[in-house]
Every structure is written in structure tokens, then in C-alpha cells.
Symmetry: C2
Subunit: 239 residues, 2 copies
């Protein structure tokens, strides 16, 4: 059992909570039994980190550490008794007929929630623009409830994604309160849907390259919806 927070493994795990180390190492840490189990089912779990009091095990190497060490590694207020080292999956290929593109979406909770909805409503690929939150962000993974391990998530520049989608003969829609089509007017069998950041919406450059704006009708004095809600309503409508 590792007891000291200065042990080299603990120091290494602690580093694996930072973006630059994650990118170099190609692996990151997830917390709680639930998320670790989901990563394992998806074939992405490299090793388990468990508190000495826990009897949790899976068919991967198991590193036993003290409560103090778990607290050192954890980003949560209350450190869980189970964590795992997970392989960073590198997907480069947009697959399928239903694609959601998150253009510069910064809030990790919204991105995680959208990934969760994507799986529920048969979306094949989620493109996360290079300017969006990191794919291995802890809050993103928690909000996705581990669905991120089962969704084809591609990190790509939004304009490049639009080019690729057009080559695949997929029409590109963007959610916008002034969009020319209301979501319930159409039900495309193939689609790409771009969702923008809540503050700024979608840039003119992206709009100019995309095909149609999609709006959701709502009450007169309402300005907008949460982006995860708006995106999920469209995915549900076109599922």
C-alpha cells in the first residue's frame, strides 16, 4: 500500500490532473466507481487506484493507496474510494449520419450533458471544436455520466468539420434564435447540428459556411435556452 503523498506514483497521478500532462501521457484519471466501471466496459481502463479500505476490483492492475493519497489526487470535495487511469481515446473520423458539432462550447457541464443526450438520441459523432473545453475535463466526464466512453467524440476545427460533412453529403444546420426553419418543420434523416457558446452564439464565419439556421419557437419575452437543453430538444426531435 502507498501511504505517502510524496510517493512518485502519487506525484505522477496528481500531474495527470493537468491538461498538458494528460496530452503528453495520453491518459487521464477518472473518479468514482460508476465512471471507472463505465471506462472499463468501454475497454479504456488501464489501472485502478483504490483506497486501502475498498475491496473494489476489476480485471486490471490495482494500486492500493491511503485515504490521504486519494485526497491528494482527487478534484472532488470528498475524495471517492475508487479512481482509475483511463486511456485518452483519439478519434479523428466523423462517422455516421447524425453529427453534433459543439463550436466553442466552454461549459463542461453543458458539453457532458450534450454527449449524454447524443447517445440517447442516436447521434453517431460529436465534434468538439478545438476551442471548446478539453475532452478529458473532469466535470465534463461527470456530467456525461460516463457516456463519453461510448460516443465517437472527434476534436476538430469547426470550419474543417463543415467541409468534411459536406463531402459526406450531410446538410449542416446551426441552432440560432433567428434560424429560418423551426425544428418541428423538418425531420432530416441525415444531419449535422452546430451548437454555439451561450454567450456569443455562432460566429458569422461558421453561419456563412453552414446550410440552414434552426430555431426553437418559444414565448415572446424569452431570449434563449440553455445550450444543452436546446441541442437535446433538436436531437430528440430528429432522432
Amino acid at each position: 500500500m502507498i501511504d505517502s503523498v510524496n510517493n512518485e506514483k502519487i506525484v505522477y497521478f496528481k500531474k495527470l490532473r493537468e491538461a498538458k500532462y494528460i496530452k503528453d501521457a495520453g491518459k487521464y484519471i477518472v473518479e468514482t466507481e460508476h465512471l471507472v466501471s463505465e471506462a472499463y466496459k468501454a475497454g479504456l481502463l488501464e489501472s485502478l487506484i483504490v483506497e486501502n479500505s475498498s475491496d473494489f476490483e476489476l480485471d486490471v492492475p490495482r494500486i492500493i493507496v491511503s485515504k490521504k493519497c486519494m485526497e491528494k489526487i482527487s478534484l472532488l470535495k470528498n475524495a471517492p474510494s475508487v479512481m482509475g487511469v483511463v486511456k485518452l481515446k483519439e478519434n479523428n473520423t466523423i462517422k455516421g449520419n447524425k453529427v453534433v458539432v459543439l463550436d466553442n462550447v466552454q461549459d463542461p457541464g453543458n458539453v457532458g450533458t450534450l454527449i449524454r443526450s447524443s447517445l440517447a438520441f442516436n447521434v453517431d459523432t460529436v465534434v468538439l471544436s478545438s476551442t471548446s473545453v478539453n475532452i478529458f475535463n473532469d466535470k465534463l466526464i461527470r456530467s456525461s455520466e460516463g457516456t463519453i466512453f461510448n460516443v465517437n467524440v472527434v476534436v476538430m476545427d469547426t470550419l474543417k468539420a463543415i467541409d468534411t460533412l459536406h463531402k459526406m453529403n450531410i446538410d449542416v444546420y446551426y441552432a440560432d434564435m433567428f434560424g429560418e426553419k423551426e425544428v418541428s418543420e423538418i425531420k432530416p434523416l441525415k444531419y449535422a447540428l452546430i451548437l454555439g457558446s451561450e454567450g456569443q452564439g455562432i460566429s458569422e464565419r461558421v453561419k456563412a459556411k453552414a446550410d440552414y439556421g434552426i430555431r426553437l419557437d418559444m414565448c415572446d419575452k424569452c431570449e434563449s435556452l440553455n445550450v444543452a437543453v436546446a441541442g437535446s430538444i433538436i436531437m430528440h426531435s430528429w432522432r
Copy 2:
């Protein structure tokens, strides 16, 4: 200008960030120009607290304080230059034909997002069960984007709310993955929709008193959706 963080007004404002003082005082503090402006438009703003560098004003008393004082009062990582003291609105009456009941929903972000969607999709009243997060929770208000000031939010026990709704001849639905009706099968003109906590769902006691379970069809291996997403899809569908 108030410069000292030990000034009695600053100490009082700091206390107004805690639930027990808020309940006694019947007022609470909101942060950022946007939320303060929304509270003002809804007639709920009592006074402004502004940093000495800010020239923001509205037609209410204005208390000028130092940056240090703003930091003392703020719950945000970066204190804004504008805050406001807002009246705690006490609504006791369920009004209208479209009602959403949040039964023991703890996550303030989800509750705020659901309140935002309620306004967008013509819901007249949101009932927050006594066991849910506090109505004046800072994150709840931020997630609602200030829409909370314009929605009739009633704090009431869920079982009592069901009795009241039945007396109003409103059918009570609850969102549940095993619900007997799929959301798109029906479009009730009058409805109450109960949403439960993500972890535990809706209790058997509540289900027994309600009228119908409503489900959202999704992919086979999917277990659930975020509660704010599921609730918003149903509200959108029945708007």
C-alpha cells in the same frame, strides 16, 4: 464609500449569503449586472451594491463600496462590480394550466435550467418541493439567467401539490423511464409534470398519488437523461 470589510453593512451583506439569514430577512443578494437588471425589471430590487469604479445605476438606493468589500460579499471566483439586494418573493398559489413540480431536485444548475425552460415553454407555475435546493441558491439563480424573477415559483410539499392540482382538475404526470405513455403520444392542454432527483427518481408514494408515468424513448443501452434535458423536452413537446 465603504472601504472596510468590517463595516456593519458589509458584515450584514455577508450574512445575507447564508440560508438562515435570508429566510429571516426575506431578502438575498444577487451578483452581476445582468441578474441585478433582471431583478429590477421584475420589481424585486431593493438596493444596489456597486464597486466605486462602477457608474452603474438604477432607480434604487446605491451603496458604493471598495473592491475588497465586493470580494468579501461575493461567492464568485472573480467578484463582479455590481450586486443587488433582492426581495425574496413568497408565492403560495399554484396558478395556470401548466405546472412543473420539482420533487427533491438538489442540483441548483438543473433547477435553474428548468426554470429557464419553464418560462420559454409557457409553464405557469414551478413547484419546488420543500426538500429541493433553496429558491435563493446563488447557482440556481445564475443558471436560471434571471428568469426566476419572472416565473411563479411555489415552495410546497410534493404530495400537497398533487392534492391541490387534482382539485384544480389538472392531470398529474411524472417523468419515468418506465412510464406507460411516451411523451409524443399525447399533448395535454392542461398538465402538471413531476420531475424527480437524478439519483433516486420519483418515490413510490408520489407515483401512487400521481396519474400517469411519461417516458421518453431513447436508445436501448441508455439509462437516463439529465433531468433538466428530460423535463425541457417534455415541456417543449406540450408547449
